[in-house]
């Protein structure tokens, strides 16, 4: 029988990570995501699955511990919130370049700077456009419920190993802190070293006689070589764009207007859609689940059917750029957002929709 539990989004990530056979978690406390490490420490997975949980001296150290663990072909992860994720960017760039699989959770809070501990979506650019130095991308998943916090943790590891790439779970303080019921994923055993050697022969588990040595590195001094690395990464990102787009449509079939929103904003906008339809305005909601790869083709399709779109985000307008690129001028696209940690209310969004789009 499936096990239904009531818990916070952050706790669901911790539970799911242990259950899906994660080998190591390395983190540093920061609000509003500290429950992830706290839950793991309480659950003591080192006594059950053998998973390592270690509190690092900084976010910088934590992401580099992930680098080391991932370089051995181990399932490893870290989590933080916006200011801490900024600190991890160096490590993420190295991880992307060295093609290491890992999961990075960002439970976003309002910035810039120390900002606020309240929820925000202002790290959209940083997450989907690269974040650190160099030309690279991460797969970015945007959970909108506690259930998805658990499900996406499992999915993130699968995608990370499928493509040898870092995957970010981009949540916000609301999803991290709110409690909902959740069905936890089943237990999967951690991989044995023999299994890792077979499935991930690039891992540094120690060079066996007769094998070539494995080297995890992102360095290529020769430009021709570095261009090759870059071309290889770009080809991988095109492949990801082709295969891994995920989104959810809510009352889109007959929509005259489309709201595009992810995470917490998508939850708010479901209510907006219902309120608008009560007033006779046919609105649909498109919720990107993967922010990279972005559901460009789907939005392009809706540009043929609708009269306008509203990108609703808890930031000053970031995802709207990707919506506009997809729409390519076919219909007006406007933005509505609240900043600094404020979650917009459904009626605010409805008013914005009427003012900016439904004229």
């Amino acid at each position: 029988m499936e096990e239904v539990r009531l818990m916070k989004g952050n706790e669901a990530i911790a539970e799911a990570a242990i259950r899906c056979g994660c080998d190591g978690y390395f983190g540093y406390p920061i609000t509003p995501q500290s429950e992830i490490m706290e839950t793991m420490m309480l659950l003591k997975p080192w006594e059950t699955t053998g998973m390592v949980v270690l509190q690092a001296e900084s976010e910088v150290a934590a992401i580099n511990m992930v680098y080391g663990a991932a370089g051995c072909g181990k399932k490893s992860m870290t989590s933080s919130s916006s200011p801490g994720i900024s600190l991890k960017q160096e490590g993420i760039s190295y991880i992307a370049s060295a093609e290491l699989p890992c999961v990075i959770v960002n439970v976003m809070r309002g910035g810039p700077g120390l900002g606020t501990i309240q929820p925000s979506q202002a790290d959209y650019y940083q997450s989907v456009k690269g974040g650190g130095h160099g030309d690279y991308k991460m797969i970015v998943l945007a959970p909108a419920s506690v259930q998805e916090m658990a499900d996406h943790t499992v999915l993130a590891f699968d995608l990370a190993f499928k493509y040898r790439t870092p995957v970010m779970l981009l949540a916000d303080g609301v999803i991290g802190q709110m409690m909902e019921k959740v069905v936890l994923p089943p237990f999967q055993p951690r991989m044995t070293e023999e299994e890792i050697r077979e499935k991930y022969p690039w891992g540094t588990l120690g060079k066996l006689k007769g094998n070539k040595k494995n080297v995890i590195t992102s360095l290529a001094l020769l430009s021709e070589e570095m261009e090759k690395t870059n071309n290889h990464l770009q080809a991988k990102y095109r492949e990801i764009e082709k295969n891994e787009v995920l989104y959810e449509e809510f009352q889109c079939e007959d929509a005259d207007y489309l709201i595009v929103a992810f995470g917490t904003c998508a939850r708010v906008c479901q209510k907006t859609v219902e309120m608008a339809r009560e007033e006779g305005i046919k609105v649909g909601l498109l919720r990107p689940i993967t922010l990279f790869p972005f559901p460009t083709e789907t939005i392009k399709k809706y540009a043929e059917q609708t009269k306008g779109m509203l990108s609703v985000e808890m930031n000053a307008g970031q995802m709207i750029d990707d919506v506009r690129l997809a729409v390519n001028g076919k219909v007006p696209v406007e933005h509505y957002g609240r900043l600094g940690g404020i979650v917009p209310a459904p009626d605010e969004v409805l008013n914005a929709l009427k003012e900016k789009i439904v004229k």
Binding site: E57, A61, M65, Y67, T204, L205, K207, N214
Partner: protein, 253 residues
């Protein structure tokens, strides 16, 4: 005597360990790195732990260490080697894991990672090449640059009012509960080379015994950065570096 007669196996008195690859080393003639690499490779070979050893290369001249020693390697971001080694060692507790770092890497940008890995008593070995200068980037001032020592970013000599004092990080690390063996060696003469090799072996043995972190500092030369001949560099090191960084064990638990 022909060359073939000379390389007759019967005449062999010293063989290069197979763990040192045939890739030509990029190090400058006279640089200490080549000797330390050879010692590392020999110790790993003699202990028979090639299959169980993972090295972590730094950013700096030794970034290409992975080209020269035939074991699995990871190359870490600047200063982050102890964190990377922590990640490896925690998930592979039965492996021998070591970092190989220079003074800029270990004692400037990576100070936090170094101190905290040592303070946790990670069962790893840290090999610390201290030549008082940033070699790879062209001879800039390092945390361990001596007072008055000229570098490209202290062209009139290190001025403590402006730059602070040379950082004796090894002494600091010896104070931490997590370290079990902290030693300072050199490879400028035969006796030094022999002692340095023993120290490296002890570091690996400590890892196996799970005694804590071993730190092996090798006070080294950088003749290109110091703008001296290899022989003059050795003399300069003995005269100037050794008084500031005296050789010997700082801690041996």
């Amino acid at each position: 005597m022909t060359t073939n007669e000379i390389i007759n196996p019967a005449n062999l008195v010293h063989k290069k360990t197979d763990l040192l690859t045939d890739v030509p080393m990029h190090y400058c003639p006279g640089c200490s790195h080549g000797v330390v690499h050879k010692l590392l490779a020999e110790v790993i070979d003699e202990m028979g732990i090639q299959e169980e050893t993972i090295g972590v290369a730094p950013v700096g001249c030794a970034v290409f260490a992975y080209n020269y020693i035939d074991i699995d390697w990871q190359q870490a971001a600047h200063g982050r080697a102890p964190a990377v080694a922590t990640g490896i060692k925690r998930l592979l507790p039965e492996r021998y894991v070591f970092t190989y770092q220079g003074d800029g890497d270990l004692a400037a940008i990576g100070t936090a990672e170094t101190i905290h890995a040592c303070n946790r008593g990670e069962n790893i070995m840290i090999i610390f090449i201290n030549n008082g200068i940033y070699g790879m980037t062209g001879g800039q001032m390092a945390p361990t640059t001596l007072e008055g020592m000229k570098t490209s970013t202290s062209p009139y000599g290190r001025n403590v009012e402006l730059n602070g004092y040379p950082l004796n990080i090894t002494k600091l690390l010896a104070e931490l509960e997590g370290t079990c063996y902290v030693t300072r060696q050199s490879v400028h003469n035969v006796a030094g080379v022999r002692r340095a090799k023993k120290a490296i072996q002890k570091g690996f043995e400590n890892s196996e015994l799970k005694k804590g972190t071993s730190v092996i500092e090798i006070v080294s030369t950088c003749n290109s950065g110091w703008k001296l001949s290899p022989a003059a560099s050795n003399d300069w090191m003995v005269k100037n570096m050794f008084p500031a960084y005296p050789l010997g064990d700082l801690k041996n638990v």
